[in-house]
Symmetry: C2
Subunit: 223 residues, 2 copies
């Protein structure tokens, strides 16, 4: 991702036009997790950001264009908060743990008021064919692909048992993350976040290589 196009929610020197465009999209991502991405009309967003509908029309020519730009803004933010930091990890297993930890942090800090933007938007759009659904499905495929790649690389690096079914393990990790999000939105307590952390930590411990080379020191489990 080009850092200049990032939509991190922090002050940054930009031209007034760009600042305004970013501020509009920031509000759009938040609004979409509360009122739904289908509720994200130009009229509703104009009201939320205090602009005229015609002023907003200068930024986005249609509701669909606005929705797609909102998904891109949320994707850029997700990359900054979750996937980019994880890419710095020293090993594939550490990268996998980092993807999990960063995702749970992204929930905990309430990046969006209605929980994970993508879980929220896809639950809404899954039965609505079109470019917005396609983009969300592609995002989800990319996210699951990153987890599965980390699992496969960890198998190659002897951090995970090569006999584990990587796609199955990916499913089980994502399952805990998805339920953490769903329950966190309803409960607003740490409990589901901790339960997901525990479930995944335990699952990765059970997926540790059974025959570890004697030359390599064993890592403590459940770290």
């Amino acid at each position: 991702m080009n850092r200049d196009e990032s939509t991190q929610f922090e002050p940054r020197r930009r031209s007034d036009g760009a600042q305004s465009h970013r501020a509009i999209l920031e509000e759009a991502t938040r609004l979409a997790t509360v009122e739904g991405i289908e509720g994200l009309s130009l009229a509703r967003l104009a009201d939320a950001v205090g602009m005229s509908k015609s002023g907003l029309f200068a930024h986005f020519k249609s509701k669909e264009e606005l929705q797609l730009a909102t998904v891109e803004a949320a994707s850029a933010l997700f990359a900054v908060q979750v996937t980019e930091p994880a890419s710095q990890a020293a090993s594939a297993l550490e990268r996998l743990r980092s993807l999990v930890d960063r995702y749970l942090e992204y929930l905990e800090v309430e990046t969006f008021p209605g929980g994970c933007f993508f879980a929220s938007a896809l639950a809404e759009m899954d039965t609505q064919p079109g470019p917005v659904r396609d983009r969300l499905v592609a995002f989800l495929g990319d996210w699951l692909g990153q987890i599965e790649t980390a699992v496969r690389n960890a198998q190659a690096e002897n951090g995970i048992d090569p006999e584990e079914d990587a796609a199955q393990l990916t499913f089980e990790i994502e399952a805990a993350l998805l339920l953490a999000n769903a329950q966190y939105i309803v409960m607003r307590t740490q409990e589901p976040i901790e339960r997901a952390r525990r479930a995944i930590s335990r699952r990765l411990a059970s997926a540790a290589p059974r025959r570890r080379p004697r030359s390599e020191p064993a890592r403590p489990r459940g770290k």
Copy 2:
């Protein structure tokens, strides 16, 4: 549940008024999983069932009343398809397995076109305070309570290790079911259903009592 109030989608002799009321709610549950429970206006539903809005108004005085009646209709159907059959099981562990199997079947047979009614409706309403959200949260609490009760009873019956954290195990089972639903809606293949089945079967095998009384024959795992 009173069977006469059941909303099973099968023909049954009823008065025309009751038939009509049931047919309206049947359509409402289906529509809610595709267009959203917030999209369930009297006007939209009247259009879907081929009635006038004023004709529908004789059945439901407000959108909220319609939404609540739709949640009740979906709850009754869920009881018939999932929880009532499971209650027939001979042991708590069998009841737990039956709740899982019946839930996955409820997804597989596409009871609702947009997947699990409750997952869909709660994902939409989780940030919308009010009686509809409250009813959905109560339903979810009841569902998780049934799973957790089956786990605790299975622990008492020595089907599950008493040292397992019942709430944690419940979280892990529900996580697999929730992701099966989310992925099934997008993929429409058996894969996520099978992955959930495998994840839960494996997890229950790992939760089997460690010290089984010698007098009791071991049950085959992964059944």
